[in-house]
């Protein structure tokens, strides 16, 4: 099945790039602040969280300065939520294309997810700036960050494939999604460390692939942290499972897109 898909999609490989490129172009055309929006969103959220959770609620951050602790995770989280809302709306948003031209439909949800990587990269610059400010040493562990981003992209695509194809038939998705994304953030260790969660519930938390990604991400940035390999393993396993299920579901519904969209 995979082989056949590759054979079919290979001639269109550049389309994935072009659609992503389109999304990037459009996002920043006719905007005053341009790419700084990419930084602004996690930055402002970080400031609010620092005051609310860091100062007032005194959420522990395992000794890492709270702004850096939350910003590093918010960067990933912002990427994930932008990617998810973009990806899940991509089929309905490009109904015209689906009705008129043939091409591998996967390209549509994948495009905004790839496009959002530009924002993530811009946000990374600020992250490195903050690391300098807080005297966090740069280590070779940072080289693993791109690999974690790859897993995050794959997971975002897997979830978007399902949501996007459900959205074709049931437009409720667009109402439910913002709410789900909000809840999901609190179920991921963005504003708190996993160590804060009682031992017996940690397994449940680990089933969320973002837990493994975020914790490993932090462990790579702050070299003093203990690397929790089992978290990462579960995370990768669940991501792979999601990708399989997502792709299968997408493939099974794909044939009807043009008729019902």
């Amino acid at each position: 099945m995979l082989l056949r898909w590759c054979k079919n999609a290979w001639p269109y490989r550049e389309l994935f790039f072009f659609l992503a490129w389109r999304d990037v172009k459009i996002r920043y055309r006719q905007t005053v602040l341009g790419a700084s929006w990419a930084v602004l969103q996690p930055l402002v959220t970080m400031l609010v969280f620092t005051v609310l959770f860091g100062r007032m609620a005194k959420v522990p951050s395992d000794g890492i300065p709270y702004p850096l602790f939350s910003y590093s995770a918010l960067l990933l989280w912002t990427y994930f939520s932008v990617a998810l809302s973009g990806g899940s709306g991509a089929l309905v948003g490009n109904a015209e294309l689906i009705r008129k031209v043939y091409f591998p439909r996967e390209a549509l949800p994948a495009a905004p997810i790839l496009a959002a990587l530009v924002d993530l990269s811009v946000g990374m610059i600020l992250l490195f700036g903050m690391m300098v400010y807080y005297h966090v040493p740069f280590t070779w562990h940072l080289l693993f960050l791109p690999l974690l981003v790859v897993e995050l992209v794959v997971f975002a695509i897997a979830v978007s494939l399902v949501l996007a194809s459900i959205n074709v038939k049931y437009r409720d998705v667009k109402h439910a999604l913002p709410f789900v994304i909000q809840l999901w953030m609190f179920l991921s260790p963005v504003i708190y460390p996993t160590t804060m969660v009682p031992e017996r519930y940690r397994f449940l938390l680990a089933l969320n692939p973002l837990t493994g990604i975020i914790e490993t991400w932090r462990a790579c940035i702050f070299s003093g942290r203990i690397m929790n390999w089992s978290l990462l393993e579960i995370s990768i396993g669940v991501t792979a499972l999601f990708l399989f299920l997502g792709a299968s579901y997408f493939k099974s519904t794909e044939r009807k897109f043009a008729d019902i969209i």
């Binding site: 072009f18 389109r22 294309l97």
Partner: protein
């Protein structure tokens, strides 16, 4: 000959109404709770067959026209061939790369410039960046929008958009090209460009499927034509035969009662009333298809209430848009009718060579007495736009080129001659037309 395209017993079913009930996730969940173990009761679902058991093959390099009324299933067929949608049953086989011009310019984005859209549109249609790089100048040239290529497309006119869209699609390197009604839009110059481009593609050995309402264009481009009617292939054969039968069928169903008696929209004093109108050929037989260049006799039936003197009859022709194309009337033709007896009769006018371009014309009729005809109320009977005259395209100039409204309303029979420096006289004429088509 190798087959480029095999359509084998393809049927496409659409469910009516099924979607209206099920587009909310909430309802689907409610149904799941209500009927967790069995499938929910089947709703009476109305289905329509957009295509019914359609089979045909096209050889590599073949050019096939597809004609049919709106809703006959032409577009569904092209959609299936271009893999946008899938048949309910049956199979299709395609040899090589397929591109469709179902709707040119799809995937254009308002905010992007013309150049950016060329790349985007090209890649949506399956082109590589490398290919587009090479063809970019040619594409811009074809579309004729050099000056605006770096302007966002939202500032483009619809014509510019269309030209750019077609330019991209026309430069696709494909083996099979599906063309749907591209000629319905765009100005005339551009339509000509499109047609010659399609012709070139065909000469380059490409297989082309050409859907159009423009029967002259189909006649010109395609040696073979399929007539799709109510989801089925009604006729498949030589274009001339198929188009003849298609038009005949059409006119039979369109031209209804030529009765003018009950027409309410009329003015005049009523001494004479028009009762009917007929279109006849030279042999006096009713004409069902009237094509450019045909000889046509229009017979007007009337009923006079009393004996009248100095009767005058006239016919006006207008286009759909109200442009006055021609008037013919007895006084101007120099024909006097000194005396018109009471009772029924008819008056005929023979037109030698109806040299009008194809399309619909509206016939208005009037008849009046000797008093100068100053307003409709003074006439005996005045019927504005009482009958449509549909003129079908023909090879008027015997040149193989269909002529349409883009050439204006009137066809002038002509003969060309060239006298240049080397060859003083009698060069081969490019086109000659007598304006009278031989009747088949």
């Amino acid at each position: 000959m190798p087959k480029a395209l095999v359509v084998d017993h393809v049927t496409k079913e659409y469910k009516l109404g099924a979607l209206a009930h099920e587009t909310m996730l909430r309802e689907a969940l409610v149904n799941l709770v209500r009927y967790p173990f069995r499938r929910r009761p089947r709703r009476e679902e109305e289905t329509i067959n957009a295509l019914k058991d359609v089979s045909f093959t096209v050889e590599t390099g073949g050019v096939v026209g597809i004609i049919g009324r709106n809703g006959a299933g032409k577009s569904t067929l092209l959609k299936i061939l271009s893999r946008i949608t899938y048949p309910t049953s049956g199979t299709i086989q395609l040899e090589g790369r397929v591109a469709s011009l179902l709707e040119v310019g799809t995937g254009f984005h308002e905010e992007l410039t013309g150049r950016e859209n060329v790349y985007l549109n090209g890649s949506v249609l399956g082109m590589k960046k490398r290919e587009i790089d090479v063809l970019l100048d040619e594409i811009i040239d074809f579309a004729g929008i050099h000056r605006f290529i770096d302007t966002p497309i939202k500032r483009y006119s619809s014509g510019m958009r269309l030209r750019l869209g077609f330019a991209v699609a026309a430069h696709l390197q494909t083996d099979i090209l599906l063309v749907d009604e591209v000629l319905a839009v765009g100005d005339f110059e551009f339509q000509k460009k499109c047609l010659s481009k399609i012709e070139n593609l065909h000469r380059g050995g490409r297989t082309v499927l050409f859907v159009s309402h423009n029967t002259a264009a189909v006649e010109h481009l395609c040696p073979r034509t399929l007539w799709i009617d109510q989801g089925q292939v009604r006729q498949d054969g030589a274009t001339a035969d198929v188009i003849r039968d298609y038009l005949a069928h059409f006119s039979a169903s369109l031209r209804t009662d030529p009765n003018l008696v009950d027409l309410q929209e009329r003015e005049g004093t009523g001494e004479v009333r028009f009762t009917g109108i007929e279109f006849l050929d030279v042999a006096g037989q009713p004409m069902h298809i009237i094509r450019s260049g045909d000889e046509l006799t229009i017979r007007l039936h009337y009923n006079a209430t009393r004996n009248l003197e100095n009767a005058r009859f006239g016919i006006d022709l207008h286009t759909d848009w109200g442009t006055h194309v021609a008037s013919i009337c007895t006084p101007v033709s120099g024909w006097q009718i000194p005396y018109l007896s009471a009772g029924e009769g008819y008056v005929e006018v023979a037109l030698e060579g109806l040299n009008l371009t194809p399309g619909r014309y509206w016939i208005s009729l009037w008849t009046t007495g000797p008093n100068h005809f100053s307003s409709a109320k003074n006439g005996w009977d005045v019927l504005p736009r009482c009958k449509a005259l549909d003129i079908e395209p023909s090879d008027f100039f015997n040149s193989g080129k269909g002529v349409d409204r883009g050439y204006g309303f009137v066809l002038l029979p002509c003969k060309w001659n060239l006298h240049d420096a080397c060859e003083p006289a009698d060069a081969v004429p490019d086109a000659q037309g007598t304006g009278k088509r031989a009747r088949q």
